[in-house]
Symmetry: C2
Subunit: 324 residues, 2 copies
Amino acid sequence: MYTLEQLEKEAIALIEQESFLNEPSTLYDPIEYGMKQGGKRIRPLLTLIAADMFSSDVNKAKSAAIAVEILHNFTLLHDDIMDQSPLRRGKETVYKKFNSNKAILSGDTMFALAFKHLLNYENEIVKDLVEILTQSSIEVCEGQAFDMEFETRNDVKIEEYIKMIRLKTGVLLSCALRLGATTAHCTKENLSLLDEFAQNIGIAFQIQDDILDCWSDLEVFGKITGKDIVDNKKTFLYLKALEIGSERQQNILKELYSSKNFESTQKEQVVKSIYEELKIKELAQKEMQYYHNLALESLDKIKIDNERKENLRLFAEKLMKRNK
Amino acid sequence: MYTLEQLEKEAIALIEQESFLNEPSTLYDPIEYGMKQGGKRIRPLLTLIAADMFSSDVNKAKSAAIAVEILHNFTLLHDDIMDQSPLRRGKETVYKKFNSNKAILSGDTMFALAFKHLLNYENEIVKDLVEILTQSSIEVCEGQAFDMEFETRNDVKIEEYIKMIRLKTGVLLSCALRLGATTAHCTKENLSLLDEFAQNIGIAFQIQDDILDCWSDLEVFGKITGKDIVDNKKTFLYLKALEIGSERQQNILKELYSSKNFESTQKEQVVKSIYEELKIKELAQKEMQYYHNLALESLDKIKIDNERKENLRLFAEKLMKRNK
């Protein structure tokens, strides 16, 4: 088995070393640009961790790891058009640098390229791998559709929010793990436990993102905090405050979220003061911990030697302790 | 074996009977709308024809036929955004009726749904089917990229144009045929001949489209003719005229194609008069016939009884005789 640190390095190197350049350059240059924006490469890392858990041959999982990272970046290309996000990791997004049409078409090509990498496997497992990638893609799209729908709805329930972030974030983490485990011929039962683990870790990860956006240290976080409030994003924090707040607090929140024209600093202050009155940060941390624990319970149930689970346990722990 | 007419009816019914509705409706309603806009269903028809050629079980090809039609319609959803086309078959395009974001996301979902339909097959052929769909999707995207690139280039060669229409049109026809033939366990050699047939028929089909857009009868064609000229589209006709025209004719064509501000009727008249001076229609028909003959040669070489090829021969003939 490898150490987590070794696998982290491997996941990063794997994508850096892969060239996405081809003809026509108008199609492939945006792909290369999008794929080489750095990042922690969490998804290919999960694929490698899972393969390492269930077999002695991590190399075999590499094509699957590349596939899931391409799929993830394809969703970023299209999401950035839909959300009109100009920057990602401090650099121009693909659609801003090239144009929307190119970002649409290059994204489509990436979707196909993800499947292409799964064709490097033997007949016996290709169907399982394609099934995982296909179903995950569909669910990620459903998650994005719910997310867009929530922007115009004023009656979003926390339950619906959890479902949405499970689809948008948890499903792709699960996809990454299950692809890796499938290359290592993992049992159906263990696959299902990996799925539970990943979906719950994904939810915990996203709630933590909501907390970090609201309260983290600008210097450490590297992004402007309070952006979710300015953008009227219906995060866990907002929905929880609406659920447990007094009528007065609810009305203030609804009023402030009804327009993008309020002065940002003051709006942020008022919303945060309501969050503090209601101890929303503590409630969100409790919720995050709840899903984190659920994930660990599933991990415990996986039928392999305990020490083989250590990397995934460590990964989950690091993810929960992050401050950016 | 079935008659061509029976298979034509079957292909149309297959798509009409399939429901694409699901939750969230914001994601699936645009898919249902896009899939139910009618049309001749040429691609699923080809899948059924191929399956019928090589086996006695056309039903087995149905999932593959649905997959290729979903893939085709996914490309239409995204192409219509890129080309800003408001209408398709006389109805609002998906992005006009819903919006661009929904058309992007629903298109992405369709791409995944196409793969999902291939999972209805047994392990032994899933890899081959996925490989055909994947490689075809990549090439169709490449074709669309070349098409967009040509809009801003003034030095497009006929050879490049042929390559582009082969990728944009021929490849998907080939995909349709090869999926159907693969469900019927056709040999690699015959698959390769089907590929040649389809790619050449696709090129002939597209050149004919260029001819129809320029000279067909408005009442029969159902679309406004001369649109390619008004839109400065670098069709086979235009590129051929540039290739063989005098310096004076070349300069007029380039001048008229340098802007979208010329008065349409007069522009169309001048361009068409140059086409007539150079006998471009006849040359295009000759070229179309050349690719049609190449296609038939490949069909002849396929190693099955001659009468089993009759439907595909008839299909090619009907396609070439169409006036809309």
